[in-house]
Assembly symmetry: C2
Homo-oligomer: 351 residues x 2
């Protein structure tokens, strides 16, 4: 890993850090539109209070940076890391073999204290493996969880676990609830967030064995604002601030929500195009629909947080564009300033 200086002054990020700026490590090679869109997202987000370390293949990053407009490019630094982990590689094996891959290097920068967070739109499994390997778990915590923010109308909803692991035990769900509550408070500013447990009925006796036992555990914790069970329909209805489920259910639900939203919007467009009258209506409605689409677009919130590791790690959607990357960097900076990871550690230690 070689540091390549970029920006007006050499060692720009270090100087910014000394001046109180947040420094984030971004996997410049991860995602469907990397490195171009990722690098341009960094350039859009970077500024005097936010320095971005662009981790990846130096020449490719430089080429992408050449297309950046504005002052942002003066606040990035390139960290050369030539290896690439593809979307189809077996995560743990790939992470062990490719220590100089961009996402492993990004996590290492966090482990070394040179960056406050690692952000990647690359292979999620590899990012989780790299985070665990480089950072380890918070002391006393059994299972990290991947937490995302659903852009539900009115106010956002925190959703955990969306796929850090495929099986869970009741204690893990309790840990997810605790961690996501702190996330909701620190990053989204929600005071005393309410927590719902996904089940197949609202009553405490409804659910599978995992949920029945997790319900009992969560109900016994005075520090949690536990609402009780919620059903599938309630996930997006702002019934609670934090929605807790196992990584299998959460992953399936998240992907289902995305495709249901897309499908409906596509069908609305088709309906609008199907007749002349409707076509005129559709054209007039188009701008408003664009605004609406933006409001429900997960890209606006920016990525999923791997809670429970000793460092801030954010995984963005593979199809992230510059806007999504810039947004993710903004939220990551906020989480770093709030010392989210430190607060998680304190909560776990106090239990």
């Amino acid at each position: 890993m070689t540091i390549v200086k970029h920006g007006p002054a050499s060692n720009a990020a270090s100087k910014q850090k000394e001046a109180g700026a947040v420094v984030l490590a971004l996997d410049a090679m991860g995602g469907d539109f990397a490195p171009e869109e990722v690098v341009l997202g960094a350039a859009a987000a970077a500024g005097p209070s936010l320095a971005v370390l662009l981790v990846g293949r130096k020449t490719e990053i430089e080429k992408a940076l050449a297309g950046a407009k504005g002052a942002g490019r003066d606040f990035v630094e390139i960290i050369d890391a030539p290896d690439i982990i593809g979307f189809d590689e077996e995560p743990v094996k790939a992470v062990r073999q490719k220590a100089n891959s961009s996402l492993v290097a990004a996590c290492r920068l966090v482990a070394e204290g040179r960056a406050a967070a690692a952000v990647s739109a690359g292979n999620t499994g590899a990012m989780l493996a790299a985070a665990l390997l480089q950072l380890g778990r918070i002391r006393g915590l059994k299972r990290p969880g991947l937490c995302t923010v659903l852009p539900t109308p009115g106010k956002p909803t925190v959703f955990i676990d969306v796929g850090a692991s495929s099986e869970a035990r009741p204690l893990h769900l309790l840990e997810f609830a605790n961690m996501a509550s702190i996330f909701a408070a620190d990053v989204l500013g929600i005071a005393n967030p309410s927590v719902g447990l996904v089940s197949i009925g609202e009553e405490s006796v409804k659910g599978n064995e995992l949920v029945l036992e997790a319900h009992r555990l969560m109900a016994s914790q005075p520090q949690l604002n536990f609402y009780g069970n919620i059903e599938g329909r309630d996930i997006i209805r702002n019934v609670v601030d934090v929605v807790v489920t196992d990584g299998f259910t959460g992953n399936v639900c998240l992907k289902l929500m995305e495709s249901t939203s897309s499908l409906i919007i596509e069908e609305v467009k088709k309906a609008a195009a199907a007749s002349l009258t409707a076509k005129i209506g559709g054209a007039l409605l188009k701008r408003r629909l664009g605004d609406f689409r933006k409001s429900i677009d997960a890209k606006e919130i920016g990525g999923a947080y791997l809670l429970g590791v000793r460092g801030l790690v954010i995984v963005c959607h593979g199809n992230s564009d510059r806007r999504a990357i810039a947004s993710a960097l903004g939220y990551a900076a906020r989480a770093a300033q709030q010392d989210l990871v430190g607060n998680l550690g304190e909560r776990v230690a106090s239990l």
Copy 2:
């Protein structure tokens, strides 16, 4: 249970049955809008080739029937069953204590061979318990599954299990796959339906223990057209004809899909109302949106089938209106004519 004659001739249903008509038992008291909407749905669906036994409180049913228009009311018969099982009652206990409840009586009519199917929009758990108690499982089958049809654009998708049970073992998922394949062929007319298993990645090594083992089992069955794993996003994308998952995941997904669709359509309407220009557009688009909404409305398909019991049992959404009930009765008649239950028994016996 007392038979109360209704219609132009006494014993109308029996006579119709002799003439080759399908006779269905409908729980007239089940659902948010019972008995009015349920009874009117029956009157809309009934005719010379379809007789409906309206099971429930005689006087209430008669009152509702008085509002029916058209000839349909001449093809229904009232079966007096005064007990009511509410939505909040513990299913097994309620079913045992209230043998003369409308839904238990409807299942009993099927067990006695007097009706080809029992249809209810009442308490799902109670209906499942009543079906198991009155009809029993198909010989050789371990676990019934609740199967529904998703009105995905282009062609429908069969989805099983949406909540007959909260836990599943790999063998149960295989049984669900076999049963839902026969359902897709018999009721929807899909030749050699392809079957997908819900997981958190397409590769056969992705998933929880249940899915990994179920995948191996399903891949080893020559009679199944097994596609492999599908992800949450693929459930509604017509990737496969039949989607298989455990009852916990299926129930959560079904309710999540419903609320996501409703939410998006509500937001589209709000977007249309938010400015004058968009308002004009929205008004013009309104009729097309109505058509579209109808096309994705689960009510159009009509109910979930409890596959694996020795009789045809259909559970409708609690909020079913007359249209939903009429649609469910139409599909139920088709399933009866195709001898769905007999075909399921043959498939199970052949394995």
